[in-house]
Amino acid sequence: MPSKELSGRVAVAGVGTTRYGKLPEHDAYDLGVWALKEALADCGLGFEDIDGLIVNRIPDYQRFGEVTGLNPRYTTITPGQGRFSGICIQTAIAVIAAGMAETVALVYGNNGRSAGDHYGGASDAYGSGGAGLWFPYGMTSPGAFHALMMRRHMEQYGTKPEQLGAVAMAFRRHASLNPNAVMRTPFTIEDYLAARFICEPLRLLDYCLINDGGVAMILTTAERARDLRRPPVYIRGFAQASELAGSTFPPDDFWRRPMRLVAADVYAMAGVGPGDVDALMIYDNFTPTVLFSLEGFGFCPVGESGAWVADGKLQLGGALPTNTSGGHLSESYMQGWALNVEAVRQLRGECGARQVAGAELVQYMTAAPVITSMIYGKDRR
């Protein structure tokens, strides 16, 4: 596991987000620059202060450096898969801890809506490639992959469609309190059940949005962050594990094995347990992922996540407010980035009508072939 000495060593100094929706006049670079300017303004730093650069989903790091005039001392780029938001943030922590850079800009730009991304069909690149082998049988899309997993969960544990609906409804209700969310109209369980199937057992409202937008985060040392414009949000714990072997096909255990590894490490590093976090940000590409994450990280017993979420625990005012921004399902499909920003904004108390009162610890997690989690704290320890 990462050294416990790194707990609270690095902080989020600034965050920036663009508008979300359909923004055809901006390409992925433009969206990244827009978000980065917002993040720099947020913390009061300038482009000249950035000495580390990590870009995600933006096609080319060199061009990004050209359009922003940046000459960082550390640079990397990662593929446009949602699991990489957590990986990038963890890489930034390691780079800062190693002294390779002091102030890292993490920049994400996604023009998927305007570019006509479909996440299925001929352009399907989910997972490890080779998807074309299965196209003749009509198999395609990350949605279908999760539908296959959810069918097994339903068969094994009796999980019900209405329980997935409870997840989607909670996040939409949160989005209704978020002025920047793309989908803000609340819906009922009847509306959920009446929504058309895309890949059964998943319906339209189980799927994340496809929209344009950009997100940036500025990470730096805890010491430097204290001198900046906003209160620092400390990264108290972080951990990662994976299930890459055989990952063309859904995992037998709903990614429980790697999630348990990550949970053990992230809580040990932060010195807290699942019962101590005030809110969760769960990577919600599809509603089932939320259930798998709650089980894998130990918030509820294996197989019981459906019943666990059904009584409003994930809603604001419930036991564990989750995806208070509306998440990927209703706020914006920023592939984990905007959820990490929401964690920061919650801990700074900036969330207005959707604020979790007295939030001191917020946990982010992704369930995918690469599992990541971070625990963000208002206090350094």
Partner: protein
């Protein structure tokens, strides 16, 4: 007769034995000569033991349904007239997994644990798809 409108598998040289086997009605898989495990699609190295020596072998084509899903959206024009259609996730007795279609089983009877065996479905003169039917008792 109209042209076949659905996507066809990529015709890559590495998987040619699988493709040719299907045309003959045989499910061919690559087998590691070091640890004996089967694999598909083709790879130079065994993911289990990293051995490089392999052969292609005929297999029984028998397996079990692990899960299934039902597409209501057509991602290709060729599937527009078939929605809703089912995709099954099959684990062959040889350990290899495939995505495919189950022929002749009503949707409400598809479930995980169902025993199946390969059925070969020629769709063009060059391509035979590996689909599945329920194994008779």
């Amino acid at each position: 007769m109209s042209e076949y409108a659905k996507p066809l598998p990529p015709d890559d040289a590495a998987n040619r034995p699988f493709r040719d086997g299907a045309k003959r009605g045989v499910l061919m898989l690559q087998r590691c000569l070091d640890c004996g495990r089967h694999r598909f699609p083709a790879a130079r190295y065994c993911a289990q033991c990293r051995g490089e020596r392999s052969e292609w072998v005929a297999t029984s084509g028998a397996g079990v349904v692990e899960s299934f899903c039902t597409f209501h959206k057509a991602y290709w024009p060729g599937f527009e007239h078939e929605v809703p259609y089912d995709v099954v996730q099959v684990r062959l007795d040889d350990g290899v997994r495939l995505f495919s279609n189950l022929v002749g089983v009503p949707r409400e009877q598809i479930r995980s644990g169902l025993r199946v065996r390969a059925r070969f479905d020629p769709v063009t003169p060059e391509v035979t798809l590996v689909k599945f039917i329920q194994e008779s008792k």
